[in-house]
Amino acid sequence: MYMGPVGLPISMDAVVFNSVSKVFQHRPALFNWVGRERAGSTEALRGVSLRLPVGGVLVLLGPNGSGKTTALKLISTMLIPDAGNVIVCGSDTLLDGDTVRCKVGFAMAHERTFFPRLTARENLDFFATLENVSKNERSKRVDEKLERVGLTAAADTLVMKFSTGMYQRLGVARALLKNPEVLLLDEPTRSLDPGSALHFWDFVRELPVTRTTVILATHNFQEAATVGDHVAILQRGVLVAGRPSVPGSSLDVMRAFYFQSVGEPEYAEAISAPSPQEMP
């Protein structure tokens, strides 16, 4: 069982994974001999169990294809688990998806999930309406979120003219519109310059103050070391290790922890790293 930071009482879990598995089937098209598409299946997650207390920042660290995005999509209800269950703020994602969707904001890794011929403000206003933000509050909320991600000056620009980094920040603003209890960030600084990334990490560190629980998927050790209260390492769909972390801890410690966890100690440069706790 994965617990919150040492010394902090756990009043309620924000997110619970109970032996969650997710398999994607690959069913080739008809006349497969023409192109030879791969058949079979991919186990994206295998028996993953974890608990995340309210108000923490969990970093899911792992290489490409390790199941990080699948885990986030399961929390957001974009996906349904094949086995086990995912509980978000007390609601099962399978049985009570509508309630879960009201509580979870998701900033996805691929940026272009906006309406290109609408401005940033128009896009956010549209999504705010769908998120049940009342008319009186909508305009203020949109302005506040645009300011929070540094896009006030570009608020009335068509998003088709945005750079990749601007798209990414707009995605975060959209995820924040409903003031979510759980915020999912999938590689949020992938397209940001180093300066913007630093500002963004400061912003993420402030979120738990408002009791927003953050789950951030990344393969960036620096990011994991800077923002995580807890770090969980995924490898080929298995949660191989997890431990509390001190935000701002050493990059070398994080790197060592990761490589020891995935069974590649020769890459672990920091000898002083603590041993990973094996997951049940």
């Binding site: 997710k22 699948t70 974009m78 996906l79 998701f106 996805m108 999930t113 998120e131 049940n132 009342s134």
Partner: protein, 268 residues
Amino acid sequence: MSQVSLLEKLIAIARRDVLTAVRYRNGFILGLLGTFAEMLAFFYLARAIGPSFRPEGVSFFAFLVVGIGFYTFLISGVQAFLSTVQEAQQTGTIEVLLTTSTPAPVLIFLSAFSAFAGKAAKLVFDLVIGLIVFRVVLPHPNLAGTAVIFLLSLAVALALGVLAASLQIALQKGSAVLWLLSSVGFLTGTLFPVNVLPLPLQWAAWLIPITHSLSGMRGALLLGQSTSQLAPEILWLSLAALLLLPTSLFILSWVLRRGRRAGTLSFY
């Protein structure tokens, strides 16, 4: 979290669609010019055939304006909605939309409604051009009957749009519904009256909702038929709407659940 009414959400979706349409400036203007050119073609076609051909007792030009205008409204409404779903799949927006606080079937239904509202504006534009520029005469139109037939036809078309979206999400081939509707288009009385078809084809035509929509619209708008005269069409369309709307929403919910399980919501 406060609640936002369905009307507000519908307005937000329609506003998105209108802004997107008008910001494709050239496409928007060409669309208007295309409508005018289409009318001109019908006008000269009707003139070439001559005034003695009066299908269902009305001028051939008026018959074409109402028939093709309304048929195009229904088909292009389904097509516009389908394009919205396809674009949302290609950009990945569909996954984001389906994780908002608005339930997915509601969102998709409202999107379909907005797509048809856009095409309804074009239908009105068609009719206005027909009436003003080409002097189509409506002696005693039954406006209440026209509204009833229009709303029932809209309900059936919305259901067909939702079915097309379901097919698009499930098999990435929502265009199959469009293909089917277009293939049977010649049976529906768009270009010529159904009664010139052989009897078996007339029976097939009777099964197609658009046949009843066109017949009802022409009866109400061009012939000024009373509500009792329109009753068979109203009854048929009501039954079709009652059957198709819940069925299409049930299928959509099932398809979305299946897509969430298989991870194929944004496949295209």
